[in-house]
């Protein structure tokens, strides 16, 4: 049965967030909660949750219109509506009796073949199905989402012995393809996979921090980036998830785990935590936690708590030799280092990783499942077993033995063999529980560049970009600079791609597997050239970019861009120059050049104008496309999802959206191949631009913005140049066409005038130093 109507019961943070994400994926969803006592509006809880989500940041909805797919209701008046639902997600109180009572009621209304799942994070499936009829047990499973459901890619699935395998397959496929989640099949054990290991790691890190007398800043500096863990580390992560969550999770694990589980030995009182919670310091949602923002005296000072005294002081930037060593030598250098950071890292990670190694196959069938769970659920760059390989399975086993500690059998096996993962015949393989190796399986329709890379060398490569043969005649252009910024070396590889694909391939896909598609042009290079007054070099970079992007657009084969994460400035302009875009739903796209004091000059102005001019939804006449482009570029609007990008015109309505990050490349390749037959490059578009009359209108609008304080002095300089480009310059008149080339020329001229102004240089410098735009 296809899932065409869903329901979520329980409009708390998780339930509402799951409902929002179902709506993001285009699935109509009923959101029900109880009728509050004496409430006039009987569906107030669900309605309130939706209203709150529409204002929340980060936004649970990918675009406001998705909210229309969520129908609020209550468990008394609307319960019968559940008869229409194919999947009912329960996200009510973590109380088995409350849940089971609800399940009994559900049995009376839900249709045959519908699936019920619980979003419980602590209760075993066995307990939840006690006393329920066979039909329920067959249709029931646990679907454990992570918070916030839109952004966290992990979905843990727990099936019971009686659960229909088809039901599990259906939810797994739906969660994967439609909701875009990475599915991890977990066994019915406490905390399932990610939280079982994640909670152990957090608890262990807190205990070791306290016992070793590290500061919270030091602990987070060690337990974050050097290990490929988000920079929130331990204490900032606890602030983020809420301090009050920790005792709850702890109590639940303590009650459900066997007495001899290693976690039990880590438990001990943490009086400071109790005090903080009691005083309302519940983390970021409260007054602060281990860190807080002190806004006294008008300044915003980040403060950290002293774990010994409980007093706050301005947060320090710890300098630890072990952390510095990790910058070059990675995690291995970190744990090998003798300073307190290295010792702390070893203590925590050796316990955590050994614990993980002791849990397979108890909690999941294989080690890739565990690694995926931590990567997707805790945003670790490497899962526990990947980390063990980084540290060296042999070395870890040896050091544990040396320290007189137990070595889990699975780690022993890895140490005796080739580690937890190996590459054989161009294929990634993992260690099995039996001690041999098996291919890491990818679902059908998943194509990873990481796997392609194992098979052989690239078609071409330099320091900034590479070309890979991804099969069926399709070439993948991968940019791999820092934040995937675009530089002249990237242009060279694009030039190479144009040659290679035209000669003996069919299509080009622009894609990479980093967090961000591209943050734009390499500003550092531009700044360097500006500092030595090498203006011709800058102009070369601009005109070279224009040429290369135009060549991509006019290439005799289809070009499909596949962004995920940021696609800004010059990165956005690649999308605009492509024949089609296959966008990850979590793509954040915008032309943000004004933030660094310039205008888009690799065809961004031209492309947006041409798209807006052809948009049938806009009123006719020369000004609407110009005014819209002026607003979009002038305000540096960034779409916060692929759907918003369609609204803003960065994506065409025909461009496709992929929810699952791992399916993006395969989908893009498919899209590219679909364009091959009968492919004709797009013809240049003639624009009818208003010229000085239009510029005069924009100038008035700008003047008003400046008076209102919404535009700064340098904003005026930049926006005036932008107005010049978008209106077509002094000679343009809407009775005759302005060519795309003429607009490109104006883009370049405006860019060059701006880049020589002190205001723009100050903006570039500020961006390079702080990563934030300067408002000068």
């Amino acid at each position: 049965m296809a899932i065409s109507q869903a329901a979520v019961i329980g409009a708390g943070v998780m339930g509402a967030g799951i409902a929002a994400h179902l709506a993001n994926a285009g699935v109509p969803v009923l959101l029900l909660d109880i009728v509050p006592k004496g409430a006039e509006n009987r569906s107030a809880l669900a309605e309130g949750a939706i209203a709150k989500m529409l204002k929340a940041d980060p936004a649970p909805f990918m675009w406001p219109r998705a909210a229309q797919l969520v129908t609020p209701g209550n468990l008394e008046d609307d319960f019968d509506e559940l008869v229409h639902c194919d999947w009912i997600v329960e996200a009510v109180l973590e109380d088995p009796e409350v849940k089971r009572d609800l399940y009994h009621r559900l049995e009376e209304v839900r249709k045959d073949g519908s699936i019920v799942s619980s979003n419980t994070s602590t209760l075993p499936l066995k307990l939840l199905t006690e006393g329920l009829p066979a039909r329920f047990a067959a249709d029931f499973m646990i679907t454990h989402f992570f918070n916030p459901p839109r952004y966290m890619a992990l979905l843990e699935l727990v099936a019971g012995e009686k659960t229909r395998p088809e039901a599990v397959a259906e939810i797994a496929a739906f969660g994967d393809r439609v909701l875009g989640k990475g599915i991890v099949h977990c066994h019915d054990t406490p905390g399932f996979v990610a939280n079982r290991i994640g909670t152990f790691w957090l608890q262990c890190a807190v205990v070791e921090t306290l016992e070793r007398g590290l500061t919270v800043e030091e602990a987070d500096a060690v337990m974050g980036r050097p290990l490929g863990i988000p920079k929130t580390g331990v204490f900032a992560l606890l602030d983020l998830v809420g301090l009050d969550l920790m005792p709850k999770v702890d109590a639940s694990l303590a009650a459900t785990l066997p007495k001899d589980d290693a976690y039990q030995a880590l438990r001990r009182p943490f009086p400071l935590l109790e005090k903080l919670i009691a005083e309302g310091y519940t983390g970021r949602k409260g007054k602060g936690g281990f860190y807080r923002l002190n806004k006294a005296n008008g300044a915003r000072v980040k403060e950290a708590i002293d774990l010994a005294t409980g007093d706050y002081a301005p947060a320090a930037r710890p300098s630890l030799a072990s952390v510095s060593a990790a910058r070059r030598g990675g995690a291995k250098a970190l744990v090998a280092h003798a300073d307190k950071g290295g010792a702390f890292a070893w203590a925590v990670m050796s316990q955590t990783l050994a614990y993980a190694a002791s849990l397979v196959p108890e909690i999941a069938d294989d080690i890739p499942s565990v690694d995926r769970a931590l990567c997707l659920g805790y945003n670790w760059k490497f899962g526990p077993f990947e980390l063990l390989d980084k540290l060296g399975a042999k070395d870890v086993a040896a050091r544990l033995t040396e320290e007189g500690r137990a070595v889990p059998p699975l780690l022993e096996k890895a140490a005796a063999a080739e580690g937890f993962y190996r590459v054989k015949d161009g294929r990634l393989q993992h260690l099995t529980v039996a001690g041999d190796y098996a291919d890491v399986r990818r679902s059908e329709g998943v194509l990873l560049l990481a796997d392609v890379k194992l098979k052989g060398p690239p078609l071409a490569r330099n320091g900034s970009a590479s070309l890979w043969d991804i099969g069926d005649g399709v070439v993948c252009l991968e940019v791999h600079t820092k934040l995937n910024t675009i530089d002249p070396e990237v242009f060279k590889i694009i030039g190479k791609a144009l040659e290679i694909v035209a000669k003996d391939h069919k299509a080009l896909v622009v894609y990479n597997e980093a967090s961000h598609f591209s943050a734009g042009a390499n500003l550092g290079l531009a700044m360097f050239a500006a500092n030595v007054g090498a203006w011709p070099a800058i102009e070369d970079m601009v005109s070279e970019g224009q040429k290369v992007y135009a060549a991509l657009k006019r290439a005799p084969f289809p070009v499909v861009a596949a962004p995920s994460g940021l696609a800004l400035g010059g990165g956005c302009e690649i999308l605009l120059a492509s024949d089609a875009v296959q966008a990850h739903a979590e793509s954040y796209i915008g032309l943000v050049e004004v933030g660094v004091g310039v205008v888009p000059a690799w065809g961004g102005c031209k492309e947006l104008l041409s798209r807006y001019s052809r948009d049938p939804r806009r009123p006719k006449g020369p000004m609407p496309p110009v005014a819209a482009a002026f607003e979009t570029i002038g305000m540096a609007k960034v779409a916060k999802s692929a759907f918003e990008a369609k609204e803003l015109g960065f994506l065409r309505s025909s461009d496709l959206v992929t929810f699952n990050r791992e399916r993006l490349l395969a989908d893009a390749k498919q899209k590219a191949l679909s364009l091959v037959e009968g492919y004709q490059p797009p013809e240049p578009v003639e624009l009818f631009l208003p010229g000085p009359s239009g510029k005069a209108s924009l100038a008035y609008a700008l003047r008003d913005l400046f008076a209102k304080g919404q535009a700064t002095e340098h904003d005026m300089v930049v926006a005036t140049e932008l107005a010049e480009v978008l209106t077509g310059g002094a000679k343009a008149d809407f009775t005759e066409p302005t060519s795309e080339d003429a607009v490109l020329k104006m883009e370049r001229a405006a860019f060059m005038r701006l880049v020589k102004t002190p205001g723009t240089l100050a903006r570039v410098e500020h961006m390079l130093e702080t990563g934030k735009p300067l408002r000068n």
Binding site: S693, A696, A699, Y700, D704
Partner: protein, 379 residues
């Protein structure tokens, strides 16, 4: 021999916030047609006798373009013999429509006219879809295209209208309008409109809970160091209005009930940088033509485009604020540009009758630097 001209009926649609009110989805031509039909029904005039439908509109394009007056005539199912023309004097458009009807009547060029006004500020943006300014004029004489907010700041500064006074006027305007709505004093003039199947019966811009304290916290809307806020500016509004203008003889012989007689009219230009002062010169001219003094006025409808501008005009002219905008002004009711002139003139006429007074003034300022004024007397 000059004929007397009377206002023999006045109606309007509810006024609602543009972009967020209940009339966003209502096309302005359709809105006006419903209002015109309402006027016909309430006044009881035989539509065959109508010479012309004159419609004022400040941005006559899009759904209010294409000589919308003719289309409104078709939509309202006026006899095909009734002509239609659209006039534009920005905010003064529908008062201008009344003046044109009066002129025609006195020229013996018709006995009865419908003078309407429309503006959907939701559906047609201020300045229209294609603002294409004369670049040379913009350079030589920037005030030609000056924004309205800036003119309000100019007036406030030059005439020393403090923010506090502006806010007091806003509070009073909302209080009066809220009372009028609550006491049903607006229902005679409002024609409920059908917005895609649901009926909108009452005004939507009035905020009865407006307080001086609440307003004091707002940020300036147009200049960081300015005194004019969103609350002391009339809101962007969707609305339509219509009055029936006939010769006095026609009204008498056809059983119509005149609300007031037109006594004098005037328009005047002023410096566009302080366009809000337009009512001063226009009112002085009209009073002189009427042979009256400010002190003779019993009822005043002074459009509140901005509190600053309304107060400066009242100061300059010596208007009695107690006799001004009895049921609230545009700060509370809203200001659908093209529709306001017919509203305040029709309202002044209706108030003359309701209050049993003798003379009334309706006047308003106009972007680009103009004023328009109408003096009415008891019918």
């Amino acid at each position: 021999m000059e004929k007397n001209v009377v206002i023999a009926g006045y109606v309007r649609s509810p006024f609602h916030f543009a972009h967020k009110g209940e009339m966003v989805k209502l096309r302005p031509d359709e809105m006006a047609a419903q209002v015109v039909r309402g006027l016909l029904e309430r006044s009881g005039i035989d539509p065959k006798d109508i010479e012309d439908l004159i419609v004022g509109c400040a941005f006559p394009e899009g759904e209010q373009g294409l000589n919308v007056a003719r289309l409104i005539g078709f939509l309202a199912e006026l006899p095909i013999s009734v002509a239609g023309t659209t006039v534009n004097r920005f905010c003064g458009s529908s008062m201008q429509a009344i003046h044109m009807a009066a002129g025609s009547i006195q020229m013996n060029a018709g006995e009865a006219f419908i003078c309407a006004g429309i503006e959907s500020m939701s559906r047609v943006p201020m300045a229209g879809f294609n603002p294409l300014l004369h670049p040379g004029l913009a350079e030589r004489f920037p005030a030609a295209y000056i924004s309205m907010g800036e003119t309000a700041e100019n007036v406030a500064r030059r005439h020393q209208i403090t923010r506090q006074r502006q806010e007091e006027l806003a509070v009073i305007s909302h209080r009066k309008a809220a009372a009028a709505r609550a006491e049903g004093r607006l229902s005679d003039e409002i024609i409920p409109v059908d917005v895609k199947g649901s009926e909108v019966t009452a005004d939507g811009c009035i905020r009865p809970d407006t307080s001086a304290e609440g307003l004091a916290g707002l940020k300036p809307a147009f200049a960081t160091d300015g005194s004019v806020t969103a609350a002391t500016s009339s809101p962007l509004t969707d609305g339509a209005s219509a009055v029936l203008v006939t010769s006095e003889d026609y009204a008498k012989t056809h059983g119509l009930k005149p609300l007031a007689k037109l006594r004098a009219i005037a328009v005047a230009g002023c410096d566009p940088e302080v366009m809000g002062m337009g009512p001063v010169a226009a009112t002085r001219k009209a009073l002189e033509r009427a042979g009256l003094a400010v002190g003779d006025l019993d009822i005043v409808e002074l459009n509140e485009a901005f509190a600053a501008q309304a107060l400066a005009c009242a100061d300059e002219l010596g208007l009695d604020l107690d006799k001004t905008n009895l049921d609230g002004g545009a700060l509370a009711l809203g200001h659908p540009l093209g529709a306001t002139g017919a509203r305040i003139t029709g309202k002044a006429a209706a108030l003359l009758q309701r209050e049993g007074k003798e003379f009334a003034l309706s006047t308003q300022c106009i972007g680009g630097g103009q004023g328009i004024a109408t003096i009415l007397e008891a019918a």
